[in-house]
């Protein structure tokens, strides 16, 4: 329900003044972060291993460049991730299949080992069309070209989705571009004219959209990420909470490991603004 965004907007109307401040924050120990996914598309799939840093420290995140990463399909080892030229980045060309489940194991040089909880690779519908018309919005929203797309939602409750956006080949990171939805309000319907971009596009821009099926567990993870990074700064913030994904330390289940390893069905489509 994109219109929930407008509710957030009401929140913003009420939010008073914001000032950047400097505080002495606690220094937590570095924790391993896993950022990767396996999809049903051909080509290289990347996985990144890094470490957390104190919040008030600016700069690069340290990487884990010397790990051994293996991929399992339905509990059978199917691939070995090779280290990329960029330290901390690993890749495999293995392609996933809908209906199968995937997990990884990670061993680091200092003898620690980790694994991800199995993820099912779920069905994903095609993006039927994508277009970027000029839309005349009532104030206070800006007029301009916005990306809209049509797709369909397979019948049967329980499907969850995530979308990733690229402008001129540049991935749009940051909490406000993280869009995750489930099919509760749209189950089995044709979804026509879904607005995905919230900033107007420029003429000449090319916009690319990735539509991914994700598991319920990944949906809950990314929803939590949204609440912790995008829904902040108003009277209506949800309580800060630890964002814990599906990665575990094999030797100590209670040890905190960060990030998520996902299995996704993936479809993409692009449009150029004329």
């Amino acid at each position: 329900m994109k219109n929930l965004v407008y509710i957030a907007l009401f929140g913003l109307l009420l939010s008073g003044c914001q000032d950047v401040v400097y505080l002495d924050l606690p220094n937590g120990k570095p924790l391993l972060v896993v950022d990767g996914e396996i999809s049903d598309q051909a080509g290289k799939k990347f996985l990144k291993l890094s470490y957390s840093i104190p919040y008030d420290k600016q700069g690069e995140f340290p990487v884990e460049a010397n790990a051994v990463v293996r991929l399992f399909e339905d509990s059978v080892e199917v691939a070995f991730y090779t280290a990329d030229s960029i330290p901390g980045l690993y890749s495999t060309t293995f392609t996933g299949t809908t209906g199968r489940s995937y997990f990884i194991t990670i061993e680091t040089l200092d003898g620690e080992s980790f694994y991800s909880l199995p993820e099912m690779l779920n069905r994903v519908p095609e993006i039927d069309s994508i277009y970027a018309p000029y839309i005349d919005f009532p104030a206070p929203f800006e007029d301009g070209n916005y990306a809209l797309f049509d797709t369909w939602e397979p019948a049967g409750l329980g499907d969850c989705y995530r979308w990733r956006q690229y402008i001129n080949g540049q991935y749009l990171g940051g909490p406000f571009y993280l869009v995750v939805r489930d099919d509760r309000l749209v189950d089995g319907n044709n979804l026509v004219g879904f607005q995905i971009s919230f900033d107007p596009l420029l003429v000449g821009d090319s916009f690319y959209l990735e539509q991914m099926s994700i598991t319920r567990s990944a949906y809950e993870y990314w929803t939590l990420v949204v609440t912790q990074t995008a829904q902040v700064g108003s009277n209506f913030d949800p309580p800060p909470a630890p964002v814990i994904g599906n990665i575990r330390n094999s030797n100590n289940e209670d040890d905190l490991v960060l990030g998520y390893f996902s299995a996704v069905g993936l479809r993409g489509a692009g449009v150029r603004v004329n």
């Binding site: 950022d35 929803t223 990074t229 009277n235 309580p239 800060p240």
Partner: protein, 785 residues
């Protein structure tokens, strides 16, 4: 429990029978308006015997036959004296005159020794005049903002809806408007409350020692009563302010018998949008309004009825893109009947409703989403004035709830959305209570009460059954059971003992002690810093336990200088069981399995409250200080059912030190100044231990909930009232109030939050959010006729 029953029994048999007695009874009223006076004192001079008028202005005093001088006292009114020869039962209705506002301080009357002599503790009564004397945000007379100045009452922050009493959450307050429970007391997301100052007569807040007639919430009762309407003459009052304008009219329909009161208020921020050059902006709406109406009919000496109603709403709309509105409706029908001079009764039938609706009105993504709670409530209360030293109250009530957790309906042209509804839930809550107030000797006063409440969750509804060996989630549903219409799904019940005692050390000081157990069967499902209008109430049931609390409080009360100063010091300790909290990242809206997002925990709150109040016509005000702690512990069976690693954490509204001073000074007949100063410890917040990057998003790592605090909060508000000189001897009176909220413009923090920098997304920053971070001036013009 047994002990309390024993005590009740003991009190019962302690009654003295013998001497022939006659009963003096009647109503006390304001001579000018005909409004009944609540809590006025009636004393038979020289006997040490007396009684207070009840919530309906009625008193009854049984005395041995004889000659008496009866004195009637009420704060701000001239004392009335009547000599009576009491041989048979006698009705004596008395009208009292407001004392004139002269420049010399009036003699402070004996009425004010209630602080010391009444068995009530942890209780504050404020008249609307006292509330109006406080400088207010944008000049809006605000009942809830005013009670925040009392000890033991806190809020998460500026603009947050509701209030927190002695460490309890906002849903633990029973907010009554003419006896009707109000489910959302806020306008404008929490900035203002729904009570129009011109329609309200007085309010009373119980923080502890809650009498047995009140039930259903753990922490407090806020009893707000609307004006009854002038039975003598037609009058009106109103005002024009920065935020809103209001008008109240009242008068007799039949003189001295039947009166009416109607009041309205509307905010008009959006009217300024009409001046905007952009036609789109002109179509936007953002306002709230209230309508209050009441008809009061005194049928005869033994019967009176009133019909009271409130209707209010907040409305926002952005052109034809989006609209959002919410509001309360209440309707109360009340009948007071005197069965005899000693047996007073009250019968109330009421309806209360809160609902919201939001949606996109047109287009292929049109939808309409509604949700709400409906209440029908019937109750009967009886007061039996046994003898001058004892009053027995008893009664019963029946409450019906209909919960509509949410229904989203697609618009006619939409092809995108399907209809989606979380099924309605139903419940009834019967209750009975009995309570006795008894003086023992000259120094002891006891109030012992017992309430029995029952809660039945009823069909029609389908209840999911979850795998007992796994944390609840939509995936662990193993079965479901369908209950037919009216079929009992769950049943909860329990006793709620209430007890208060007062021991008079001397005429000017006393010690008091109270204990109460309270039970709460419905919960506000909210997981944001400040509750939003779309948060829904949910009943206890198979997966949500009812909450209960035990509170014990003790205090020392002392009046000085002929009751000019009232001092109180109280300590309290409160344990709250089976409170709701939520899983990390919980989705609470339009969720048919919302129970899977809920956790259960226990709360603990304790504190010290000090208050010094000065009564007087020239100088009045109070200083309050609270030292307190409120924390929560959520430790479930599984890691996802545990918060803060199973360690206790302070609640968002926990403010260690909370100091406020309120003062009001009449410089001359025409000029009056008022000021408030508030100082509080900053509320708890969670600071991250670290951060990590995933998919281009920098995510904070939070470990210890609410282990840090935002900076201290302090603020000075100021107002000046000028009463026009020509007011004297004229029916049309005018005044102008101007002032400022946050006079020295401190940027008080509401929260500190953490985000990726907008300029450089690879960097993170810490941001202080201030809601009212600068001076907010106002001017209001008031009139009455």
């Amino acid at each position: 429990m047994k002990r309390i029953l024993f005590l009740l029994l003991f009190i019962q048999v302690g009654f003295i029978y013998g001497q022939k007695k006659a009963t003096l009874s009647g109503y006390l009223k304001d001579a000018k308006s005909g409004e009944t006076l609540i809590g006025a004192n009636v004393v038979a001079e020289g006997t040490g015997l007396g009684v207070s008028t009840n919530a309906y202005g009625f008193y009854s005093l049984a005395l041995p036959s004889g000659q008496y001088t009866i004195k009637f006292y009420y704060l701000g009114f001239e004392t009335e004296v009547r000599n009576v020869e009491l041989t048979t039962d006698l009705t004596l209705n008395v009208e009292m005159k407001e004392s004139s506002v002269e420049l010399q301080e009036v003699v402070v009357t004996e009425d004010l020794d209630k602080n010391v002599k009444s068995v009530e503790m942890s209780t504050t009564q404020l008249t609307i005049l006292e509330v109006k004397a406080i400088p207010q945000l944008l000049g809006e007379v605000d009942v809830i903002r005013s009670i925040l100045l009392l000890p033991g009452v806190t809020t998460v922050g500026e603009g947050a809806s509701g209030f927190n009493v002695r460490g309890g959450n906002i849903d633990q307050n029973l907010i009554l408007l003419d006896e009707a429970p109000v489910y959302n007391s806020s306008h404008l997301f929490g900035f203002f409350s729904i009570f129009n100052g011109d329609a309200v007569r007085d309010l009373k807040l119980y923080k502890g020692g809650i009498p047995a007639e009140y039930g259903g919430r753990l922490s407090s009762v806020l009893d707000v009563r609307q004006k009854e309407g002038n039975t003598k003459a037609f009058h009106g009052a109103g005002g024009i302010g920065v935020l809103s304008s209001r008008l109240m009219l009242e008068g007799p329909i039949v003189k001295d018998k039947c009166s009416f009161m109607v009041a309205g208020r509307r905010s008009y921020a959006d009217l300024f949008l009409k001046l905007a050059s952009d036609p789109d902006l002109r179509q936007n709406q953002a306002y709230f309004y209230d309508l209050n109406a009441k008809v009061n009919y005194q049928i005869d000496d033994k019967n009176s009825v009133f019909l009271s109603s409130y209707f209010g709403r907040d409305i926002f709309s952005f052109s034809d893109l989006f609209r959002f509105s919410w509001g309360n409706k209440t309707l109360t029908l009340r009948w007071n009947h005197l069965f005899s001079d000693k047996l007073f009764s009250n019968f109330t039938l009421l309806v209360s409703d809160y609902d919201y609706s939001l949606g996109v009105p047109t287009g292929d993504q049109a939808f309409d989403w509604i949700s709400g709670i409906t209440n029908v409530y019937a109750k009967a209360d009886f007061s039996y004035y046994l003898d001058p030293k004892s009053t027995v109250r008893f009664g019963g009530s029946m409450l019906y709830y209909g919960f509509d957790p949410g229904k989203a309906t697609p618009g006619p042209e939409t092809t995108v959305f399907i209809e989606f509804a979380v099924p309605n839930k139903y419940a009834v809550e019967p209750g009975v209570f009995a309570r006795i107030d008894r003086k023992i000797g000259t120094r002891f006063t006891l109030q012992a009460g017992l309430r029995y409440s029952h809660f039945l969750r009823l069909g029609e509804e389908t209840i999911y059954i979850y795998d007992e060996n796994k944390p609840k989630s939509p995936e662990t549903i193993v079965d479901s059971v369908h209950y037919g219409n009216g079929e009992i799904i769950s049943s909860f019940y329990g006793l709620e003992p209430r007890f208060s005692a007062n021991y008079l050390i001397d005429d000017e000081s006393s010690v008091k002690l109270s204990y109460n157990r309270t039970r709460q069967y419905i919960h506000l499902v909210s997981n944001t810093t400040s509750a939003t209008p779309i948060d829904v109430w949910t009943p206890s049931g198979p997966h949500v336990k009812p909450a209960y609390a035990d509170q014990i409080a003790g205090g020392y009360f002392r009046n000085f200088r002929n009751n000019r100063y009232e001092l109180s010091g109280e300590i309290y300790y409160k344990k709250m069981y089976d409170l709701l909290d939520y899983k990390n990242g919980a989705e609470l809206i339009l969720n048919p399995t919302v129970e899977t997002e809920m956790l259960s925990g226990d709360g603990t709150a304790y504190g010290l409250e000090l208050m010094l109040k000065r009564n007087g016509k020239i100088w009045s005000g109070w200083i309050s200080y609270t030292l307190s702690r409120s924390e929560m512990l959520v430790k479930g069976q599984y890691p996802e059912e545990t918060i803060n690693n199973g360690n206790p954490y302070p609640n968002n509204w926990d403010k260690t030190h909370d100091f406020s001073a309120t003062g009001n000074y009449n410089i001359t007949k025409y000029w009056q100044v008022s000021a408030i100063f508030v100082y509080q410890t900053g509320r708890p917040v969670t600071y991250p231990d670290g951060k990590f990057e995933q998919n281009g998003i920098i995510i904070p790592v939070y470990n210890n909930r609410n282990s840090s605090r935002i900076p201290h909060y302090h603020r000075l508000d100021f107002s000046v009232t000028y009463d026009f000189k020509k007011n004297e001897n004229k029916n049309y009176k005018q005044s102008i109030v101007f002032g400022a909220y946050n006079l020295y413009g401190r940027r008080n923090a509401f929260s500190i939050f953490f985000r990726q920098s907008e300029e450089n997304p690879l960097q993170t920053e810490m941001v202080r959010l201030s809601i009212l971070g600068s001076i907010v001036p106002f001017v209001t013009y008031n009139f009455q006729f």
